[in-house]
């Protein structure tokens, strides 16, 4: 089955600085890739998704991610973070209806 590894459990960053959250996946077949964010005690919100086509995917709130098939990666980036970006971020990979999530990266934006 497919799997996801998020390489950083916590990422602290100052406000207005750039950030990259790293995600690697493993699968023997073609996959779809997703990034979700989660505020404390809330459900997950989709930031962006890669299904096919252009490897650079733009999402909501200024986030973007790049699909790299050779490195099996799907890293999330934002050029300038805000305090409101403080949240848990999950990378997910799906094959058909079976979606697997990474353990999450806690992004903390400091003033």
């Amino acid at each position: 089955a497919q799997s996801v590894t998020q390489l950083d459990s916590q990422v602290p960053v100052f406000e207005e600085a750039p950030v990259e959250l790293r995600c690697n996946y493993s699968s023997s077949v073609s996959v779809y890739l997703f990034w979700y964010m989660q505020y404390p005690n809330q459900g997950l919100q989709l930031l962006l998704k890669y299904l096919s086509g252009s490897t650079l995917v733009k999402g909501i709130n200024g986030f973007e991610a790049e699909f790299n098939k050779s490195q099996t990666s799907f890293h999330l980036r934002k050029p300038s973070v805000h305090i409101s970006d403080t949240a848990e971020y999950f990378c997910a990979v799906s094959v058909s209806e079976d979606m697997r999530f990474g353990a999450g990266t806690r992004l903390t934006v400091k003033p």
Partner: protein, 110 residues
């Protein structure tokens, strides 16, 4: 649209008790899912359904049962609650590739 709704928001169970977590969606989605999220972990798929009358096991189905008699509802049943089932449970639905999540049910088994 209310989207995906879950009840209850919180519940405390004693070991061996049973309960049903309710999930409903009003988006006419064919696909519905149940996940659990343990502290510091990502979500793990318990069961999913591709339409009314059709369900299938996910990654961690043991100790749970589901049914899908209508498109809108996808209840999750715990028959004999165990401390290992203490978790936050999320229901989701989708029509294509994007899953929409409910707010979660926080369950504690003591």
């Amino acid at each position: 649209n209310a989207g995906v709704t879950q009840t209850p928001k919180f519940r405390i169970l004693k070991i061996g008790q049973s309960m049903t977590l309710q999930c409903a969606q009003d988006m006419n989605h064919n696909y519905m899912y149940w996940y659990r999220q343990d502290p510091g972990m990502g979500l793990k798929l318990i069961y999913y359904s591709v339409g009314a009358g059709i369900t299938d096991k996910g990654e961690v189905p043991n100790g749970y049962n589901v049914s899908r008699s209508t498109t809108e509802d996808f209840p999750l049943r715990l028959e004999l609650a165990a401390p290992s089932q203490t978790s936050v449970y999320f229901c989701a639905s989708s029509q294509t590739n994007e899953q929409f999540f409910g707010p979660g049910t926080r369950l504690t088994v003591l």
